[in-house]
Symmetry: C2
Subunit: 214 residues, 2 copies
């Protein structure tokens, strides 16, 4: 990227995000920015999606180090999986995504962008996606929405994952949903488990509906 | 703080960290910077500690929003518990700690500083602590050390928490220990559970030994 003289870093990021958004729109790709803590199940959800979601899609996965998650998804049958190593960075930046978009196969309907596992920093960056989804998980505890509000102000959808563990843990899922709705009254919430498949039909239907209004 | 003209932000942070370290040393307080993902059990470990660790200690807890964790610790019987709300920030900064140290009761032997739940950003900041401890947890998955290396290069100790869940999850704890040792061959590793109490006697003994060489 040529440095835009006179623009702040914030403005530069937004300009690149806008370029990404235009690129994706022209290619007919609907992009979802997936944000959650380390270990909440972002990659597992995409592994599950690879076997069940009846649409063409690709995945770009950001990690501080390694391409482990991307490799997992290739094993799961998703050949269109690309890794971004941030090299210490705590989030994917719009420029990292832009560089990666130049490499990828764009003959797809959906692009899932799995951000670096982090409930704070990634929420501050528009990458050019169509919407952000926040992923929570039952073992993390039920106060995360209150403690990390910025993501939940911006996410159009929240996935509460690993609900198969609800019987073993003290997790007030109804309160978590209330907390999400306090931050965003229009948020769509999905209760999912890759062990039981619960919640995924509704999540896939939501993705299809969202793309219709693309 | 007066702005130090001519110092970079990095140098300013290190200078304040150094001031914090001197302040703590003069007061005879041994400080531990606790870093881990949201939901790995940092606060639960401190709750457990409040009932079992036979030393005087205080706690400063950083969260993006709310004083929920600090309130939990007061309920657990630790009256010396202070909250830092970072107001969106993804880590405790040396200056935030310095401001808080002016408020706190310093008649203690140990200070636990629970950082914002985040495996990436807090590892970049020296706050003036004696050492950093990384907290992992079994439900997060066993590849976190490889994916988030910076913390494990700096942590003198690693707590692998929620080991009572090992029977229910596919988590290769021996591999996790090897990964930790790859990053820091001298790291001390503790396998803990607040449900069984496992690992805590060894952790407390380690804290006592460390303070002897203060």
């Amino acid at each position: 990227m040529k440095k835009k003289i006179g623009l702040s870093a914030y403005e530069q990021n937004n300009q690149i995000a806008s370029e990404n958004r235009q690129f994706l729109y022209k290619k007919g790709i609907f992009a979802i920015n997936i944000i959650g803590s380390p270990g909440c199940g972002k990659t597992s959800i995409l592994e599950y999606t690879a076997g069940k979601f009846d649409k063409s899609f690709g995945v770009i996965i950001g990690d501080v180090k390694t391409a482990l998650d991307s490799d997992r998804l290739i094993k799961a049958g998703n050949n269109f999986s690309y890794a971004i190593e941030t090299g210490g960075g705590c989030h994917i930046s719009p420029l990292m995504l832009k560089d990666k978009l130049n490499e990828v196969n764009t003959d797809i309907d959906y692009l899932f962008i799995e951000n670096v596992g982090n409930l704070v920093c990634p929420s501050s960056f528009d990458l050019g996606e169509n919407f952000k989804v926040a992923v929570l998980s039952v073992p993390e505890g039920d106060e995360k929405v209150r403690k990390y509000p910025s993501l939940f102000l911006k996410a159009e959808a929240v996935i509460i994952n690993k609900v198969d563990l609800l019987d073993f843990m003290d997790y007030d899922i109804d309160q978590v949903e209330k907390d999400c709705l306090t931050h965003n009254p229009k948020v769509k919430i999905f209760r999912t488990s890759i062990k039981t498949g619960e919640g995924f039909p509704e999540w896939f239907e939501f993705l299809s509906e969202k793309r219709e209004h693309f």
